[in-house]
Subunit: 405 residues, 2 copies
DNA sequence: CTGAAAGCGCTTACAG
DNA sequence: CTGAAAGCGCTTACAG
């Protein structure tokens, strides 16, 4: 609780107003938040140039004056154009450094029409999947010295507002649409923007997009389960409650297709759509499966996150994994390895990187093919959550005979 | 595999170049990525105004002309200033709508000096924690019609480059620094910017910041374990390999303080710093604990993510949770509930929201106290991963006698 | 309530 | 290799 002298060099300031939000009435709360005496020294460090107050930003004119050249020359120097003599360059760079000069993006955008900014549209930010994809995007953009603008649109109202106002309109040079199942109207709206749009983790025919083959990925996973001997396999599709559907459809297609190829029946009772992120949904879905006359011996979850939730429910219900029930996920979530979850892996971050590269190439190079797409492979990573079904676990039809003829 | 007519109204275009990245040589890969015939119809929908090509953006002058008024009036109307007659307003709004007009942020920024953009600096994006915090930020900004710029700085080289170039300099009206332990030099650099900086999920004395009381939170968690009867409690601190340390120090302080209060010894052997996100680190840390002469009966992990990893290792080693080892986390990660992990919860998304509000108030209101801070409470959520220690599990000192006098 | 004009800080032909 | 000047698309006093 040291008072009044936290800042490095600030003058002592008027009393500080703290707002401590403490919910549960525990007497210790107020005690521990009582470091009230912080000194109010806002950014008055360093520059004593023109205005005495904060926000003293040098302009190109300041740099020009200091270096004894014209603004044109400063501009040329700082953009690295070669038509500047070494000595002039030196003087300009020195002056710029001394003034901590940074070019105003607003001003240069106005002239060039380029914002040096890429927008990404995403249904949320707090999942491992989208976080990783956006991390990939971010890495590429940083290297290209492009800024990343994030629009997270999480419900239908926001969605409507976004496509109505289209704030990315003149604010970015390109837009990345990640895991966002656009309606035809929304897509038309984006097209009308005249702004390059790249689809991330989803296939948009005729548009640049980066994705995996979900049908194929699901088939690989299914074949792994079939090869282990499973014949009754449930499929758990997650879905937001807001109408964002992701790649579910294609993974389900892969599921069906594999059953078909194996000559196994498609049993509607085994395919469930619990609402993701709501405990009840998954819990009830698992309950449904466990109470079937002929329960499955394996669950294929549409994503690792769902799979982990399923594992939690099964474990707390005393159902042994993989003894009584195998669980298979999709994504290769960071925690999948730790939780020993078998999964169909996809290179999420790389997908983000590829999408950013694609956007960059379309912006920089007008010759770039605006319909190019990049498809990444998936691979099954076998871990401890899948195993052959226990032969005597349930009264089951023989593996070679379909459950319902 | 439908060819050549995917787009709604585009003319048929030259052959499409696909780049399919397929790693594992499986013959099916190429087969499934062969939807090559997509039509190349880029955004030439709708507008046939001036330029025949894309990027036809109406300016305020266009709107003014169409509405038969001056640009000044268009500007005033669109910003909702009251000094415009209803009929003029109507005409302008109609014209703007018909032209799908959107104000150029670059141009207005240049005049007003405001970018209507907030930057967030973060050590990464792919964790539940930061994703949630940023999601909170994002929600508030969307409502305020402010844009969100994300700078993810993940290693030391990037870090140096960021503070060197400081790209947020003139690109945002404020900066949020999330989970980023700044060096004094870095902080000075930010201060010199003359840009409001708000600290998210960390306490910066004398600067606006939003956080929880980590010492107190850790103490609550510890007391829960003590009350259950544990006397040998390990503390697992996570750390990035890049020098970002988070709130570990304060949580460790809480750990020590509680031991002290309880008259228990601080045993260095029980406090570990495995490198997070690297399997080996955690695995070895757990191995160390399990091979002690007098192993702990509980592990307090600095975060839920670490706790979940620990649970995975323990489970795969056949150590029963909580029978042989209780596990306690910190955060209340989305999956903690599913995995039945006892934890010290903090309102992550709310922290992000509060930080964004703080930034907004500092920007909008010059009278706002620039040193205000907001502290959120934590609370223990008891779940199945903690229980009283098994009395006979290990030869242990009696609860009322410290392990090492 | 509305318009003409200046100017925000850059880049870009155009001269030299 | 360098400078003077025009102009990007807005907002903002300043008149009326």
């Amino acid at each position: 609780m040291s008072a009044a002298s936290d800042g490095p060099a600030g003058p002592t300031a008027p009393a500080t107003r703290d707002s401590a939000v403490n919910g549960d009435g525990n007497p210790e709360d107020t005690g521990t938040t009582a470091d009230t005496g912080d000194t109010a020294d806002t950014a008055d460090t360093g520059d004593t140039a023109d205005t005495g107050s904060l926000g003293t930003e040098a302009t190109m004119a300041d740099v020009a004056q200091r270096a004894g050249v014209s603004v044109s020359t400063v501009s040329r120097t700082l953009r690295g154009l070669s038509s500047v003599s070494p000595q002039t360059r030196g003087r300009v760079e020195k002056a710029a450094r001394e003034l901590s000069f940074a070019v105003s993006r607003s001003a240069s955008s106005l002239v060039t029409g380029k914002t040096r900014r890429i927008a990404v549209l995403t249904p949320h930010l707090d999942s491992w999947f989208l976080g990783s994809a956006i991390a990939g995007v971010s890495g590429v953009l940083r290297e290209a010295e492009l800024d990343l603008l994030v629009y997270s649109v999480t419900d239908l109202a926001q969605r409507g507002a976004f496509f109505d106002r289209l704030p990315a309109r003149r604010n970015a040079d390109a837009m990345l649409v990640a895991c966002f199942d656009l309606t035809p109207e929304e897509r038309a709206r984006l097209d009308a923007l005249g702004m390059p749009v790249v689809f991330v983790s989803q296939h948009a025919p005729g548009r640049p997009s980066v994705y995996i083959d979900d049908v194929d990925g699901a088939q690989r996973g299914m074949r792994h389960l079939l090869n282990l001997g499973h014949r009754r396999i449930a499929f758990l599709q997650s879905s937001d409650d807001t109408g964002f559907y992701w790649s579910s459809k294609e993974r389900l297609t892969g599921y069906r297709k594999t059953l078909e190829e194996a000559g196994l029946p498609y049993d509607e009772e085994l395919v469930l759509y619990p609402v993701a992120r709501h405990r009840r949904g998954i819990r009830e879905a698992v309950g449904h499966l466990l109470s079937l006359r002929n329960p499955p011996t394996a669950v294929f979850a549409e994503s690792d996150e769902v799979a982990i939730e399923v594992m939690g429910v099964l474990r707390s219900s005393g159902v042994d994994i993989p003894g009584r029930m195998s669980v298979l996920g999709f994504d290769d979530h960071h925690l999948a390895e730790w939780l020993d979850l078998t999964t169909v892996a996809q290179p999420v971050e790389e997908i983000g990187r590829a999408a950013a590269e694609l956007a960059r190439s379309i912006i920089d190079d007008p010759e770039a093919d605006p319909t190019r797409h990049v498809v990444f492979p998936t691979r099954v990573i076998p871990r401890g959550s899948t195993a052959p079904p226990a032969p005597s676990a349930h009264p089951e039809p023989r593996p070679d005979r379909p459950a319902r003829p």
